[in-house]
């Protein structure tokens, strides 16, 4: 494992420019908290830097790490609960959203978020884990279906179906809320 922080940071800078904004917003949508998004994104990039050349695909690694850190952070804030407690569990090549299901029961949502975003975050929390992941990665992160499938360790067909179902459900929830 390479540990030259300087070299690793240089290598990481490009990935940061490419992906940080999308990643931060995705974690924000996922968690509902700016603080969690801040912590998860900064720590994920820092961890990647520490690992240096051992991280071959920086972008993919940072996405996985950020969501795992976010899950852990939500769990820490909420207190002990079954599941979602160990960011080291699960397949190393996929974001295991199912495993962090329990973390999203935390009712707290950043009160400073715009009203439309707060409504969206609340609605997102009612979706299944896979649907939420598909919607966030597709519509917030702007990933393609194959990219989303790779991140989630599933197939593009599943991503398309789940994203469609998730959007439909969100629209129903938000329209009902509006009525």
């Amino acid at each position: 494992m390479a540990t030259d922080p300087g070299l690793a940071l240089e290598r990481l800078r490009d990935a940061y420019v490419r992906t940080h904004g999308r990643l931060w917003r995705s974690v924000l949508a996922w968690s509902g908290s700016r603080d969690v998004a801040d912590e998860a994104c900064a720590e994920a990039f820092a961890q990647a830097a520490r690992r240096g050349a051992a991280v071959r695909d920086v972008d993919a690694w940072v996405w996985r790490a950020a969501f795992r850190i976010a899950a852990g952070e939500l769990k820490r804030r909420r207190g002990p609960s079954p599941g979602a407690d160990d960011p080291d569990n699960g397949p190393a090549d996929a974001v295991d959203f199912d495993r962090v299901a329990g973390t999203l029961a935390d009712p707290s949502i950043d009160p400073d978020l715009p009203a439309a975003t707060m409504d969206l975050v609340r609605a997102l929390r009612t979706l299944s884990e896979q649907q939420r992941a598909c919607v966030v990665l597709r519509d917030v992160a702007g990933m393609t279906a194959p990219e989303t499938a790779k991140a989630l360790g599933t197939t593009t067909g599943t991503v398309r179906v789940q994203a469609m179902r998730g959007r439909r459900r969100l629209r129903e929830l938000l329209e009902d809320d509006d009525a």
Binding site: Y16, R25, E43, D88, A116, T117, D119, L120, V140, G157
Partner: protein, 252 residues
């Protein structure tokens, strides 16, 4: 009418992320590290537990499969001709033609009864049976064959690995990219993404769901030996055409 979902997405995109680069540099050089991806030392102690759990799972699944198979033997009527033995689950050897939706909520409740049904029967409970299919011309979308090309004729002499054993044949469309693949024996799916649409079997709707590049359909079809369930993967049709297509299917 405002779309509050799109509004929420737009509002999210309007939020400016903080510039965290300096914070990242500080964290990286300070050596703050959170164990990720399996580099925590105590992880190795979990392997025996995980292996034991996996072994138990295999035993449970195996026992369940044996019990289900025993149940099949009891309820199947061997005197009924023309029906293949029921297939209880997805073929693990198939890799390319299994629809993605089956990874989510596949039903394992396929019935094994071979008695013809005259009442409303869920498609997933109809016995699958490979048959020759044809399409009545009045329902055929323009340019599509009205008879199914059987599997043996549709596949090359040396078919590539991964072709699903349950592929029964293909309806060919106007171009080589347009095809309806017919499968017999895929498990009936139970998923609310499927929408009912009139099918060829009176009293039983077909089910349609979007699929990569087309439509995934499950339907019961009339068959001389009793209604059976067929799965279609339709590529190159509109939704309306796919719905129209299934209404005109007949088995022989």
């Amino acid at each position: 009418m405002p779309d509050r979902y799109e509004d929420g997405i737009r509002a999210l995109h309007d939020i400016e992320p903080p510039d965290q680069w300096d914070d990242i540099r500080r964290r990286a050089t300070r050596g703050l590290i959170v164990p990720l991806d399996g580099d925590r030392p105590e992880r190795r102690f979990r392997w025996p537990t995980l292996l034991a759990a996996a072994a138990v799972l295999v035993l449970v699944v195996g026992a369940a499969a044996l019990l289900l198979r025993d149940g099949d033997d009891v309820t199947t009527n061997p005197s009924d001709p023309g029906l293949t033995p029921p297939i209880g689950g997805p073929d693990e050897s198939s890799t390319t033609t299994q629809p993605e939706a089956t990874t989510e909520q596949p039903s394992t409740t396929q019935s094994t009864t071979t008695q013809p049904s005259t009442s409303v029967v869920p498609i997933g409970q109809l016995p699958a049976c490979p048959v020759d299919l044809r399409l009545t011309t009045s329902t055929a979308p323009a340019g599509w064959d009205v008879t199914m090309t059987p599997r043996d004729a549709a596949l090359p002499a040396d078919p590539p690995a991964g072709v699903d054993d349950r592929l029964a044949g293909v309806f060919e469309g106007p171009t080589t990219a347009d095809n309806v693949f017919v499968f017999a024996g895929l498990p009936g799916l139970q998923d609310d993404v499927f929408e009912p649409t009139p099918g060829p079997l009176p009293g039983s709707d077909a089910l349609i769901a979007p699929w990569e590049g087309g439509w995934y359909l499950e339907l019961g079809i009339p068959h001389p030996a009793g209604e059976c369930s067929i799965t279609l993967q339709a590529i190159g049709m509109t939704n309306d055409e796919a719905r129209q297509f299934v209404q005109g299917l007949e088995g022989s």
